[in-house]
Symmetry: C2
Subunit: 177 residues, 2 copies
Amino acid sequence: MARKKTSRTTGSEPADDARVRRVPMRDFTRSLPMSLLRAREAVMRQFRPSLRSHGLSEQQWRILRALAAVDAIEVTELARVAFLLGPSLSRILRDLEASHLIERKLAKADLRRSVVSISAKGLKLIEAVAPSSEAIYAEITRRYGARKLAELQDMLHELERSLSELKGAEEQSVEFE
Amino acid sequence: MARKKTSRTTGSEPADDARVRRVPMRDFTRSLPMSLLRAREAVMRQFRPSLRSHGLSEQQWRILRALAAVDAIEVTELARVAFLLGPSLSRILRDLEASHLIERKLAKADLRRSVVSISAKGLKLIEAVAPSSEAIYAEITRRYGARKLAELQDMLHELERSLSELKGAEEQSVEFE
DNA sequence: GAAATATGATTAACATGTTAAATGAAATCG
DNA sequence: CGATTTCATTTAACATGTTAATCATATTTC
């Protein structure tokens, strides 16, 4: 029974008991998801200008880098390593193919599958972007500390690992609705 | 063993045997942005089913929680604490208001600003979601370890802090084009 | 005080995230 | 075999991310 709307008068300072949080929870600005989101944004903010100057989105860059590390790869596996959902990947591959940065062909053993590889043009683009990308990464490492960075990565992977078996607490208790 | 692009007359690429990576870079699947992305996804995967069962998106939940902690807040400040861009926030507030989960009024001192607060219905929703949310957070803490979790948070904040002054390495060298 | 400028919020346009449905091909069942 | 089921990918629909543009109000400048 919040009575905040009753005071549409000038007094933004309510005369009632409102004004303090009514539902005590952890300070969400310090929650783990928020910390991870902000940290990631702080990192990506460093890379985006460089990528953008080459006309690449963060996701396109992930895909090209994944492709540069292999000869060819199936779409499903590419989704896994680039950490993209199928529909997003499908659209981005369509555009990358139209830009001639990648190439596709059907897997002859299984016509449902298609196999993707990076083109010469795509490789050139990576070669153009890589120096600044590496320089930025080096500067981040320098600022934060190489040892600390490695430790952070270990802790992040351990977090991932420790949650990998969990199945989303009580959705079972509601999923029948 | 498919050597797919041997027949390309791209010229610029040497005729070396493809199939291995040609552009040596760090393994991007272990890059800091990817580690942060995967860790965050592993965490959010735990919360999403519960939120979804109450018809809430992750962003809507962030907004409601931010509003529950204050009496009222201006849109710009809300964007800052909920870590959302203006346009996203604008759309979500429109929908939350239509659902009567929040209320808005103009700031009388400055008619450009609007002030948002959570409604009684919104508070009830938070009270309904909070228990499972807290339980999930507790389980994550239990699995990963409370001390380790606190340490991880510290390291994430320090990463954020150490990058806060950086301005995006060499976009200056390209931004005039 | 009127014109110019700056600011807060929204809208526009397009890319991506996300879930469900559709499509086409392979595998399995009968 | 033929029907059904499973699987890989795409398409559809809608929410959100992201940058630019717009709109209304405030502030500044002259």
